[in-house]
Amino acid sequence: MLKKEVIQALLDEALETGADFAELFFEDTNQEVIRVTSKDVSNVSYNNVHGVGVRLIKNNDVVYGYSNEVSEDKVRALIVSLRASFHGKKKEAVALKDALPFDNKIKRPMEAVSAKEKTDKLLALSEVILSHDPKIVQSITQLLSWKQSILVANSNGTYQDDERHYARVILMGVASENGQMQQVFEGPGRAMGFEIFDDIDTFALAKDVAERAVHMLSAQPIVAQEMPVVLANGWGGVIFHEACGHPLEATAVAKGLSPFTGKLGQAIGSSVVTAYDDGDVDGAWGRTSFDDEGMKTQKNLLIENGILKSYLVDYRNGLTMNHKPTGSGRRQNYKFPPTSRMNTTYIAPGKDKVEDIIKDTKYGLYAKQLGGGQVSPATGEFNFAVSEGYMIEDGKLTTPVKGAMLIGKGHEVLFKIDRVADNLDFGQGMCGSISGSIPTDVGQPTIRVSKMTVGGSGGQA
């Protein structure tokens, strides 16, 4: 790691040809993956990501360079090569401030836990899945953990380090019967150490995974049609993440590519919708104390009773948009310049009861578990897969259905949310975008969308 005086000097040099802003991002990340397949530890691997990223900005144009070699000479060489893009009067870098303290409240750092304790846990979870039912033919359990240590320093005086601890438990069960196979996956994650196992009842979840895999063997292909869809709490929030979260990122808004561009203060959804993106939820998978530009993370109100209140904004796009940064500058690692991204994004709880929402739905789909999805911010078109669903008939859950795919347009679906329950919950995933793949939480209470296109292979309605 370079000394603070050296970093200060390098930032000064970076502004020599007229750049308005210079930033150095140092990273050292160590990741461990332990995998259990059925009754055996089948794989252990270790991955280290280490390097430096240099970013210069002038008039919103960016030059970025990165290398795994972290030395004063190498950083200087990158700077000299990058600043050649700019021609202007030298600017002065602000004196680097003192780093603010951070407390990530990690109780049992992974590196302090023995390999045996980790593998014992994974073997026991695998056994829960395997022994649940004779139809279960395979189980895979994994513990993914990594610690990312970063230091970001910029010519505006920011000098901030942070240490992020991530833990994710992957549980997968495969059931088979009469040549049919069904797989079910769960992957809860936390910004925690080994105490993730105290925070989440992984044994109950393992049992649930096995049960659902067996259950889905009897699911029928859903009949393609348009109908009301009730989206269960937790992972159901992926709809908001894809359909509204991404188009609210400055990446899409600054260039006018998002349907929400220029809509601050206007109604973009039905009045039952209030939504947040929070970078500072204790222990949450999507949390960091400081973002990857060194700004303290915060809770951002995005939509209040249907009215658009804020975008998610990073430093550079903030300049273009004349919008304050929201602590949302994120990147997978030093190989990416940061941009506006989500942390923990959710629809706030309403007052409805889940039972009432289902009771009041004459015919529709209850999407209990969702797979992933995708969105095109320019068109707002999104899709997401229902991994576990049930038909709703006369206000009651009936047949399990498989293969349902929901599609829609983000800016339209927000207006079609007509019921919001009181049972907010979260789900964890890896979110991919132009600054790489990062941990994010999605969240929502159970909601109902009055009409959606539902794809499936089960014939005609």
């Binding site: 050292d28 332990i34 397949t37 059925s38 055996d40 530890v41 089948s42 794989n43 252990v44 691997s45 270790y46 991955n47 280290n48 280490h50 144009d61 960016v62 030059v63 970025y64 360079g65 990165y66 290398s67 795994n68 893009s85 390999a115 593998t119 033919v137 395979q138 069904q182 797989q183 292909p221 393609a224 348009e226 260039k255 006018g256 590519l257 190989k335 310049p337 797979g371 992933g372 999805g373 995708q374 095109s376 320019a378 068109t379 078109e381 899709n383 997401f384 897969a385 293969g403 795919m405 599609i407 347009k409 296109t453 794809g455 499936g456 292979s457 089960g458 014939g459 005609q460 309605a461």
Partner: protein
């Protein structure tokens, strides 16, 4: 980097075999927006991976912080990791194949081309797309060049090297007519700079985008479906893991006990060919140092056998197929053998069908083990044997194993994608299409 010294250090620590691979890559990426370069990224990164066998088990590490002291620590980590493994599976570090296929190296030096030339060509791409009156914006326009080199060496005397250099470019146009918005792009990859034709690339992008304007959804029902060569490659790709020996061993493929059995219709020939001349890359050896070779995975509808790595080859008592990549078993250039019909002749036989040119959400809408898929799609309506009008916001659903047995015809237009999968356009008898009513 003194790999020889590191191998010796590993052996002295008690590892019975050590393998080291070093990859070095550098890149340049330019991004244009509104007629100027808005982002310019340069990089060089080296990564070292070590695999070592300790008391019969294999440990693995990969790292970017590289120094002799770090290598010492990482070798200890290899041992630590190997000790945790309980599974009784063969751990192999390879002495090398008898011979290796010769491939033409991609060694064009893109850095020799003047930067101003690259900048002006990329800006041409961006501004040419933007100049079209139906284009409301260009989301992004990118030129990227990569140069990489790798060394694979081990304590059994293997020493292999490979180099690869290529560049690619694309521009994403946003096309608008009234309330109708869509995006289109064409991705082009090239091995010499001369092959980069920004005007041509822009024109293909514009043509694609304009054709799709005015797209509508369709009434929900079953239709005959034509998958374009590109979209059927996508489907072949997401199901390719089912032909892996590891998947068979772990009961994660329905083809586990189907070697020698019919799993597809008679004219379904699926081939994994690392050297195919029309594929983007030719691959002489895999990550374990095994020579790559052409093989049928499905021949005349009959499943020929699984692709493997050294561990699975030993366990299944089979010859290694040279398919170990990225720590797992992967295809090289896998393609479906084309038929003889032209694309137009294929369409001509369809009265009321759907031609699919884009599939979205492949990571979510596919259940590989059960073969079920349900995917957001767009493309064109086929009416009376002709492409009629553009279609979007539909979902195509079915089962891939059924599709393998229900192809009416295969066209002659084999095309490879960048990830190495190739396919002709195919006509599927009938699939569920769901859309919306306005």
């Amino acid at each position: 980097m003194n790999t020889k010294k590191w191998i010796e250090l590993g052996l002295s620590k008690g590892l019975s075999d050590v393998e080291i691979s070093v990859s070095e890559s550098s890149s340049l990426k330019l991004v244009a927006y509104e007629g100027k370069i808005e982002q310019n990224t340069i990089s060089d990164v080296s990564t070292v991976s070590i695999r070592g066998i300790y008391e019969g088990n294999i440990g693995k590490v990969r790292f970017e912080y590289i120094s002799d002291e770090q290598v010492d620590k990482m070798l200890d980590k290899v041992i630590e990791n190997a000790k945790v493994i309980t599974v009784k599976e063969p751990a192999i570090i390879y002495e090398g194949s008898a011979s290796y296929p010769e491939v033409k190296a991609n060694d064009f030096d893109f850095s020799s081309i003047d930067m101003t030339k690259k900048v002006s060509d990329l800006i041409t791409l961006e501004t040419t797309i933007r100049a079209n009156e139906k284009v409301s914006n260009v989301q992004t326009a990118v030129y990227q060049e990569n140069s990489s080199g790798a060394i694979l060496t081990n304590s059994k005397g293997l020493h292999l090297t490979r180099k690869n250099r290529f560049a690619y470019a694309y521009g994403i146009g946003v096309f608008k007519e009234g309330d109708d918005i869509n995006t289109a792009y064409e991705f082009d990859i090239f091995k010499t700079y001369e092959a980069f034709d920004p005007n041509k690339l822009a024109n293909i992008t514009i043509e694609k985008g304009l054709k799709r304007l005015g797209a509508v959804s369709l009434p929900t029902k079953f239709y005959p479906v034509v998958f374009s060569n590109e979209t059927f490659s996508d489907l072949l790709s997401v199901f390719s893991n089912l032909y892996s020996a590891e998947s068979a061993y772990r009961h994660l493929t329905p083809f586990e006990n189907k070697v020698g059995e019919k799993i597809a219709q008679a004219n379904f020939n699926l081939i994994d060919d690392p050297l195919h001349e029309n594929a983007y890359f030719q691959i002489p050896f895999d990550d374990e140092g095994v020579a790559c070779q052409k093989k049928y995975v499905i021949k005349d509808g009959i499943f020929q056998g699984f692709m493997n790595d050294l561990k699975m080859a030993t366990m299944m008592k089979q010859a290694p197929t040279g398919n170990s990549f990225g720590g797992g078993i992967r295809t090289t250039n896998m393609y479906l053998e084309p038929g003889e019909l032209s694309f137009d002749d294929m369409i001509a036989t369809i009265e009321d069908g759907v031609y699919i040119t884009d599939l979205v959400g492949l990571h979510a809408g596919v259940k590989t083990i059960s073969g079920d898929f349900s995917l957001q799609a767009s493309g064109f309506k086929i009416e009376n044997g002709k492409i009629a009008f553009p279609v979007n916001m539909i979902v195509v659903s079915g089962n891939f194993f059924d599709v393998m047995n229900n192809l009416v015809t295969l066209a002659s237009d084999l095309k490879f994608d960048v990830s190495g999968f190739g396919s002709p356009s195919v006509h599927v008898k009938s699939l569920s299409i769901s859309g919306e009513t306005k």
